[in-house]
């Protein structure tokens, strides 16, 4: 069991190493051997990556099935690394949560690997691309299966750096490079807090092994748990792009679309939510932290939805929607429904990956990221259109697709918040959830209409995307549509009439509003009715500008100041010591003027001083 889990983690890792070193060589080999069949089969890196992903998916599936048949956590430790204090356990732990999230990760990764073959067919750097995707998959699986907090952290950070490389994949463009750096730095800022949270929790509990830590959480002082969870939240906010560390995600859309689908929609950003779910007992022991999470979620949810409403770039719409949807999960955790949150994590993983991959098809066909360049694609791209329609429906939460069930579970739970968070916070969260449903419907409708309806606004050849791309999209539509029904098995995930009706009503209102505006003139962007606030929404409430002024500029100034100080104060002090010594030497050689009588005076005066000193002090 644990061996299988390790294989799940290791196979993409090995694929990454092998692909990085030998991928191109394999391509050349396949080329010279003249392997028959589709040219995909001659793409060495892709072959390696896909095979490994498929293997990992297979292993994950077996793990999940085994666990479904025989529930109960399993763990295994390979070795303990001594550190001088608490040892680090190199070991994995698998429970239901881990198995199902792991399976989801593998599936999305496989879909993305396949999709990328076509999307990046002409890319000269395919081997590094595929290798980083594999490495990322491996790291994410490590986060999912890790049995030790520090091991989890290793995966957590490696994901970050893979995200950096993949966002910056097209580094020729400085904007991509900047986005990559920003993503890494913002998440790393949170990660430092996360690491400290691990320290607090681990040192407090006397171990870094997750199950042990959770077992001992009850015995820890409240302040320790609170400090630990709050610090962990910093990391969560960074990775899961929650306010105030969300700013990197919209920019991260600079990466290739499959990457957005894999990392910035379905998996890595979900890691934050996953970790909270994993360590949920600790959070339950610190309601204040959950309240903070709730507030964070409420702000992110509504703010991101509003920002999504005004974006002109399809991928940025999806990015903000991701922030907003992740906030749903966070809200779910804050109000005490771990299963609801995880349920939404899974359905979101499916439908957001679908949406991104579909968006990738649209971009592939139209050659543009901007909504205003699309229009009328419904006819030419049936698979994409229908898949995306299902995806948007799930996003808005329309029955019977998956999003409806998971969102409903969260909204219902928020009504009866049972996690111990203060009442007002629960109320705010609940109301925000409802408002966001309406806004979500509005921006989803806007994007859907602008893309597929009306007439084409720029010149492109409407056609369906290549099969390697459209098929994964189509296949992903299946879980998007039906995943919700799996929730019916658990009582707390079943839809409730009241809240379902309420949210449908709100969604309808939002959707209709967008439709009404669009219908007035299908050639124009419905967001125009937002008027003066449109810019504010589009710029994400100017959070970036604030950070620029409050963080980036001062740090730059400080850096310049440090260089100045180093040059002009510290180094000057060192260097001037040489000059001072020389000058001192110049002064001291004055008496050495050649005049013997000066010498004699010096000698006798010195003698007199010595004699006087001796007489006085003895």
């Amino acid at each position: 069991m644990i061996a299988l889990a390790s294989l799940t983690v290791l196979s993409p890792f090995i694929a990454a190493v092998v692909g990085m070193l030998l991928g191109l060589r394999l391509s050349r080999l396949l080329e010279t051997r003249g392997v028959p069949g589709h040219r995909v089969l001659r793409n060495g890196p892709a072959v390696i990556a896909v095979v490994a992903s498929a293997l990992a998916t297979l292993f994950a599936l077996i793990v999940a099935v085994t666990l479904w048949l025989d529930p109960g956590p399993r763990e295994g430790t390979l070795t303990l690394i001594p550190t001088g204090t608490l040892p680090i356990a190199v070991g994995l732990q698998v429970d239901g949560l881990a198995a199902v999230v792991g399976l989801m990760v593998c599936c999305v990764a496989l879909a993305v690997q396949v999709y990328s073959i076509a999307y990046l067919a002409e890319d000269p750097r395919y081997s590094s691309y595929a290798a980083f995707v594999s490495l990322f998959t491996s790291a994410m699986l490590l986060v999912v299966f890790a049995g030790d907090l520090l091991l989890l952290y290793v995966g957590w950070e490696v994901m970050g750096v893979c995200s950096y490389f993949l966002i910056g994949h097209h580094w020729e463009d400085r904007a991509n490079s900047r986005a990559a750096v920003k993503a890494f730095l913002v998440t790393r800022t949170g990660d430092v807090g996360f690491l400290f949270g691990i320290f607090v929790l681990g040192v407090g509990a006397g171990t870094f092994q997750i199950d042990e830590v959770l077992r001992r959480v009850g015995d820890l002082p409240d302040t320790t748990v609170l400090a630990a969870t709050l610090l962990l939240l910093a990391g969560v906010a960074g990775k899961s792009a929650q306010f105030p560390l969300h700013t990197w995600l919209p920019d991260a859309m600079a990466g290739p679309t499959p990457i957005s689908a894999l990392i910035h929609a379905a998996t890595m950003v979900a890691a934050g939510i996953y970790v909270v779910a994993r360590l949920y007992p600790a959070f339950l022991a610190a309601p204040t932290a959950l309240a903070v999470l709730g507030v964070m979620a409420a702000i992110s949810m509504l703010g991101a939805a509003l920002a999504a409403l005004a974006q002109s770039d399809l991928k940025r719409v999806l990015a903000y929607s991701t922030i907003s949807q992740l906030a749903y999960m966070a809200a779910g955790l804050a109000v005490g429904t771990r299963s609801g949150a995880v349920f939404h994590l899974l359905t979101h993983g499916a439908f957001k990956a679908l949406l991104f991959l579909a968006a990738g098809c649209v971009i592939y066909v139209t050659g543009s990221n901007l909504l205003r360049d699309y229009g009328g694609l419904r006819e030419a791209m049936p698979i994409t259109f229908w898949s995306m329609t299902i995806g948007f429906a799930a996003l808005v939460g329309l029955p019977p697709v998956s999003g409806f069930f998971s969102k409903d579970a969260i909204i219902e739970a928020a009504l009866h918040a049972e996690s111990g968070i203060p009442g007002p916070v629960a109320t705010i969260v609940y109301l925000t959830l409802l408002v966001t449903v309406a806004v979500t419907a509005a921006y989803a409708t806007r994007a859907w209409l602008m893309t597929f309806f009306g007439t084409a606004r720029t010149a492109f050849t409407p056609r369906e995307a290549p099969r390697l791309m459209s098929w994964p999209v189509g296949i992903l539509a299946v879980p998007t549509a039906i995943l919700g029904f799996f929730g019916l098995g658990a009582s707390e995930l079943r839809p409730h009439l009241g809240s379902a009706a309420l949210s449908l009503l709100l969604a309808g209102a939002g959707g209709y509003g967008a439709y009404a505006v669009w219908r007035r003139d299908p050639a124009l962007d419905p967001a125009r009715v937002l008027g003066p606030v449109r810019t504010t929404f589009e710029r994400g409430f100017h959070v970036d500008d604030v950070y620029d002024r409050v963080v980036v500029a001062p740090v730059r100034a400080l850096a310049r100041a440090v260089v100045g100080v180093d040059d002009r104060v510290i180094d000057r002090a060192v260097e001037s010591s040489a000059g001072v010594t020389r000058a001192f030497g110049g002064l001291l050689r004055r008496p050495q003027n050649g005049n013997p009588q000066t010498y004699l005076t010096g000698l006798l005066a010195g003698m007199a001083v010595i004699v006087l000193a001796v007489v006085i002090f003895v």
Partner: protein
């Protein structure tokens, strides 16, 4: 009252004295200069052999107080050839051999009168040899003066050169006034103790009546002043740079090594045997003097452009290091004495080597500026390598392990005596010292301003450099030779 004299004990001194007279006579008979020089070197080697032979026997003492006069006091011998004295005699004689080798060319080039030169040199050595073995104040001062007086004449031997006369006069004036101060100190010590023999002085000083203590203390420091002049410690250092610069190079080498070794030996003998009970007076005094000396020497050396003046100031600074262990006062004195002795021994090798190379270079560039050393590595690689090695030794860094060990030994003794502040001052001074030694060493390997023909050294100077370099290399490989010997002695 007839005293039995142990001629074996004073054999080295006698050999040198006889040689001195013989050389003077030989010169009168117009023996060629070369033979005079060789004779002189031979006499020194003979003296060296005698000293080494003495070292295998036990310590010898002579000119002791007859038992009738001794009372129940200590033996009170005036001349003691113990291991300490023999060690310094070895240093003095070995250094003198190198000096003589350096003199061969100098005598020809500067047209010095060879007979007088060697005679005076040997006379000075008689003073040095006696000084290191003297154990009473009378003999100490007489030996000190015997060491000084011939050197005045040696400095002035370049009669045509106004600078030589000037240097001689400066040395003379400062020397005689220091001697006067020292004599005055001796008279005070004598007045307090009623004794001239150091062992008796020590016993008497230990029970000085309270009202006489300041007098005794003043006497003690005035005696020390005399030696401080010899070793060129601040504020008795003024003569050193001018005299080194004005005198023939072998004489400068003599002053900076032989004379200084004698001075240190005398100082050590006086304070360790004569004044141990006044350690609380001379300890701090020497600490301050050491700190001032090393700092002043190094800091002023930084500004030098003249090779000999630089060596002069550096040897002032080195005196500071040698004084430092004695700053411990009476506490752990044997360690301190061993450290000073070891440093003097190691310093003698490296400093005389540096002087030998400078003397070789002086054959081409009489002015001897540091800039003249540019490109020496091309003109004469062996000399340049040797000089670089000596300088690195003086700086006290590996590969000059002997210099490093010298520093370690001194630091150790200083720290052991709890004078940590002085050790820290010394650490800082090492850095200043390194700068100018290194800057000089680097010059050797820089491209010369004008490409000259290869610089040839005469066989004598070559031998001098070779001998010093061999000594330095051997001691760098096995510095424990000196360290062990010295500590076995003290």
């Amino acid at each position: 009252m007839i005293q039995a004299i142990d001629y074996a004990a004073i054999a080295p001194v006698l050999i040198i004295a006889a040689a001195a007279v013989a050389l003077l006579l030989a010169d009168a008979f117009d023996v060629p200069k070369r033979f005079l020089g060789l004779g002189c070197a031979g006499a020194l080697l003979a003296g060296l052999v005698a000293v080494i032979a003495l070292a295998f026997g036990g310590p010898r003492a002579t000119f002791c107080l007859p038992s009738g006069l001794r009372g129940d006091g200590p033996p009170s011998c005036s001349y003691v050839a113990d291991d300490f004295a023999l060690l310094f005699q070895v240093i003095v004689l070995a250094a003198a051999v190198i000096v003589v080798l350096m003199s061969f060319d100098e005598i020809t080039a500067s047209r010095l009168p060879a007979g007088e030169y060697y005679f005076l040199l040997l006379c000075a050595l008689i003073g040095a040899l006696t000084l290191v073995a003297a154990r009473d104040l009378v003999l100490l001062i007489v030996a000190l003066e015997t060491l000084s007086l011939p050197v005045f004449a040696l400095v002035a031997l370049r009669r045509y050169d106004g600078r030589a006369g000037e240097a001689a006069l400066k040395l003379f004036l400062i020397s005689v006034i220091s001697a006067a101060v020292m004599l005055f100190g001796i008279s005070l010590v004598y007045g307090v103790t009623g004794a001239m023999h150091l062992d008796r002085v020590a016993a008497a000083l230990a029970r000085t009546p309270a009202d006489l203590k300041p007098v005794a203390a003043v006497g003690v420091v005035m005696v020390i002043a005399g030696f401080a002049f010899k070793v060129a410690a601040v504020p008795f250092h003024f003569w050193a740079p001018d005299v080194y610069q004005g005198s023939p190079l072998p004489v400068a080498a003599l002053l900076s090594v032989v004379s200084k070794a004698g001075g240190f030996a005398g100082l050590v003998i006086t304070v360790a045997i004569g004044f141990p009970s006044y350690g609380h007076v001379w300890g701090p005094l020497l600490a301050v003097l050491a700190a001032l000396t090393m700092t002043l020497g190094n800091v002023v050396a930084l500004r030098q452009r003249h090779a000999v003046r630089l060596l002069a100031w550096s040897s002032v600074a080195q005196s500071g290091y040698m004084l430092a262990p004695l700053a411990v006062g009476a506490r752990r004195l044997p360690d301190a004495v061993a450290a000073t002795a070891a440093y003097v021994a190691l310093y003698a090798v490296m400093n005389i080597g540096a002087f030998a190379v400078v003397a070789a270079v002086a054959r081409r560039y009489a002015r001897n500026f540091l800039t003249d050393y540019r490109g020496l590595a091309r003109a004469n690689p062996a000399a340049a390598a040797a000089l670089a090695f000596f300088l690195v030794c003086l700086a006290g860094l590996p590969p000059g392990v002997m210099g490093l060990f010298a520093k370690i030994v001194v630091f150790r003794a200083t720290v052991a005596g709890d004078v940590v502040w002085l050790a820290v001052v010394m650490a800082i001074n090492t850095v200043i010292g390194l700068y100018y030694y290194l800057a000089w060493a680097v010059r050797l390997f820089a491209a010369p301003e004008t490409e000259g023909p290869p610089l040839r050294t005469g066989w004598a100077v070559g031998a001098a450099i070779g001998a010093a370099a061999a000594g330095a290399v051997v001691l760098s490989v096995a510095p424990q030779l000196v360290v062990q010997t010295v500590s076995a002695i003290t």
